[in-house]
């Protein structure tokens, strides 16, 4: 294994760890809005690290451009999707944790 392989393995392992963290957070966090935050860990740092790891695995060719395009497209679309989800939840009348606690106290 060359030194690049070691770097790539570290990056990939980091990506896997953060993606896994996002999945765990999805279960552990208490309500819809906080769960979206957990998923955004997978969306962002997980994707960045995994693609960086894969970049080191390819020889210097067209695949690099394809991987970078995938990264750019994911980084543009995933916040848009999260925003659409949160906005429709909000407009549909879903309360945040703090707000629903307040209305329970009354």
């Amino acid at each position: 294994m060359s030194i690049l392989d070691y770097f790539s393995a570290i990056l990939l392992a980091g990506g896997v760890f953060f993606s896994f963290t996002g999945a765990i957070g999805l279960f552990r966090f208490p309500d819809f809005f906080t769960r979206v935050h957990a998923a955004s860990v997978t969306d962002t740092i997980g994707v960045i690290l995994i693609i960086a790891g894969l970049l080191l695995q390819t020889s210097f060719d067209l695949n690099i451009i394809k991987l970078l395009l995938i990264l750019a497209i994911l980084l543009l679309t995933s916040p848009t999707a999260s925003h659409a989800l949160a906005k429709s939840a909000r407009h549909g009348g879903l309360l945040t944790l703090a707000e629903s606690n307040r209305s329970n106290d009354r």
């Binding site: 309500d31 955004s40 962002t44 916040p79 925003h83 407009h91």
Partner: protein, 158 residues
Amino acid sequence: MPIIKRFFLLAAFWLLLSGHYDPLMLGFGAFSLGLVFYISIRMDRLDGEVEYITFGQRVVRYWFWLVGQIFVSSIGVTKLVWGKTSDLSPSLEKVPATTVPDSTQVLYANSITLTPGTLSVDIEDGDITVHALQKKSLQELKEGAMAKKISEIWKKER
């Protein structure tokens, strides 16, 4: 965008993604370029208002900075995920978006969503409604480091 520039961009895009340079594939490329040009010129004529998002060095410079932010805040959220859930203090507040240039408000909102721990829920009248996992990240947002960075990079445009 002048038509020549658009032609070169699309041709480069095809060549980079295909990776096959035999006559048949190049022919297909030329054919689809022609089709795209026919459709888009027709659309521009019907629509009239053509606006392009600038995709230059600015975006690249900004993305490098943003990736750094993503790293920092991801580690924060990761700690919350593996720690006690009682550390959470989810809150919702309006953050003014008028501090950044008009054309970059969407970029600002998207960047807020992209950094883990903060989520833009709505844009209304120049205010972004932001949901955050912890109150302190809302405060950091209000101090405006991100807004400052965006207006610093994009102000030269005008």
